[in-house]
Symmetry: none
Subunit: 193 residues, 4 copies
Amino acid sequence: MTETIKKVNKKEAILKAALQLFSQRSFYGTTMPDISTLADVGAGTIYRYFTSKEALVNALFFRIMTEFDQRLESDFPNGMDTRIQFHHLFQSLWGYVVDNTQAFVFINLHDEGKYLDERSHASFDKLWNFITTIIDKGQQRGDVVDLDPKSIVSLVYGPLIPISKLLINHKYTASKDFVYALEEATWRAVSSK
Amino acid sequence: MTETIKKVNKKEAILKAALQLFSQRSFYGTTMPDISTLADVGAGTIYRYFTSKEALVNALFFRIMTEFDQRLESDFPNGMDTRIQFHHLFQSLWGYVVDNTQAFVFINLHDEGKYLDERSHASFDKLWNFITTIIDKGQQRGDVVDLDPKSIVSLVYGPLIPISKLLINHKYTASKDFVYALEEATWRAVSSK
Amino acid sequence: MTETIKKVNKKEAILKAALQLFSQRSFYGTTMPDISTLADVGAGTIYRYFTSKEALVNALFFRIMTEFDQRLESDFPNGMDTRIQFHHLFQSLWGYVVDNTQAFVFINLHDEGKYLDERSHASFDKLWNFITTIIDKGQQRGDVVDLDPKSIVSLVYGPLIPISKLLINHKYTASKDFVYALEEATWRAVSSK
Amino acid sequence: MTETIKKVNKKEAILKAALQLFSQRSFYGTTMPDISTLADVGAGTIYRYFTSKEALVNALFFRIMTEFDQRLESDFPNGMDTRIQFHHLFQSLWGYVVDNTQAFVFINLHDEGKYLDERSHASFDKLWNFITTIIDKGQQRGDVVDLDPKSIVSLVYGPLIPISKLLINHKYTASKDFVYALEEATWRAVSSK
DNA sequence: TATGAATGAGTTTTCATTCAT
DNA sequence: GATGAATGAAAACTCATTCAT
């Protein structure tokens, strides 16, 4: 029992430390001893839970993408109005970034890393595809402007990248009202009229 | 003559190789031999032109930011209508990214690096401030929506980040008409009316 | 226990190897791989105990000077006759050089090195000052010839430098009687009559 | 003519710069670019006069030892009284060290270097043997104390080593009277009576 | 199971030497 | 002859990973 809890705690401590350091210093800029020190475990202990540094980033990346995707997909108002769906999408996207800024920074710093494996790439694509599909359907209904779907996703997702950097550096705070105003602005860009 | 040309060529070859590798593999993921091999110079030669690996990224970052900023600022229609100014800004931004995709990817991968020196940071801030000022003035004239200027800059600048990754991977092509349509969409997001 | 012993052994093995190589080939003429090979440890292991090559010479220099100084100062016949004090000084000086010839060669090869830190310099000065003080007091008592103290110290200490080189190369052996005869000769040089 | 002078000047400039740097930083601590910069010649120019760095130290060492030896041997009062001969030896030794302190420091820092060739070693031995022979003859005449000749040479030569370091650092000045007093002290050590 | 000392391959950097001008 | 840019072998140092405890 205590054993299991401890085990979980160590693994979680390692993942937490890794997230913090990878998002601040990038994959190659972070050393395994850095992680073990921050996680307060022995250097060798990391290798009990992850076979290599690459395995560690991949585990982290996959977990984060999965959580992120679940946040977007859970309670998604399927079958409802495009505007309602967009509202849900936008708010869950922003909600995730505000609550998990470090994780979002981590994603955008690492999504092109050549150390990412198939599964990690797939988890990234899954989220991206989910958003694309929503946009797609909106276009089919004639509610969303007729542009390449990837561009439209970029209009929605892209602004979060510089903003997440501002949030991390505490140069920015996102109030509820603010996010609503941004949603309106983004919807103006994206809606067919 | 030949002397000077050669010298310039070596330095340029090193900068070109460094840009390519840094934008693909990041700063720490790129080794000096990687660069010297791609630039087709001896490993020691890099150190004739740059005192260290850090000095090299900084020289590259500063040069790129300066060129980028000049592109935005040159021929800027000062004193003209906000819409015209926005048009110029959007088109020069996109023009730069389309023509220098690698450089743009490089910027977004490195702008938070702790190896960047004061001058590099200042060159980044200069461009960001230039855009912010344009937005600011538009707001003062009542043409731009009343939101935190940093958010508005993010709405304009942010989408280019995922798009530049798509451009690099040839998963995307930006036609003239397309960029015009995107400008319209972005203007809808940003304009107060 | 075994842990501690091993640890001590590795550090000591490194210091021993460093002493041998530095005294034979000088600081810059000795490479870290040379040292690690002779000490029979991995190249990286040296850096677990010493932060840099400079830190290693300094640790070695300080340790040697401290031991040397303790040898001279321990059991020093304070308050006794100048001749007795000179006897003690001369014998402990020679005793140290005969027993630790390599260390003495090391000292004289490195005492002017610009890689030496404050502490190392201070440890060298401490020994030199100790000898100078003895000579000084002898002069005050009128037992030692009236010459600049540094010169007198040089008359006592200087001859050991070429002799230590001869000892190292086994071109010389210092018997007890021999050292007594040299003490007599040196005393004739140094005594006021 | 001018050519030849220039040539001589360049070679001399190189040797002068090498002497200064080698005596301050030792052989391995000095780089060829350091020397070429101080000599105010191109890096490649050194190789017109000396085939390698080793050849350069050896040329320098040999030249210095030869000059030093000539100073000792020239006008040596052969056939005269031991005391007179000792006077000449001591004064020419000190005269050389005072006039060429850097050269003397250079000698003592490099005489054991493994980069020295046969000729350099021989030039060092020649001087040492010259002194030894004088001592030897003095012993045969019964004027010099009966000790191993190498020890006696060390008594005469050794004190100059710490003193040359003091002279270089301007912590010491050797007046005529001073050197006479030191000669007296040294003669007391060395004379059989 | 957890540790962290030890390792050596790989990284950044230096420098003796060459050679085109 | 003189130069100094260019080189690459070798140096100092780092760090992912292993393994004895």
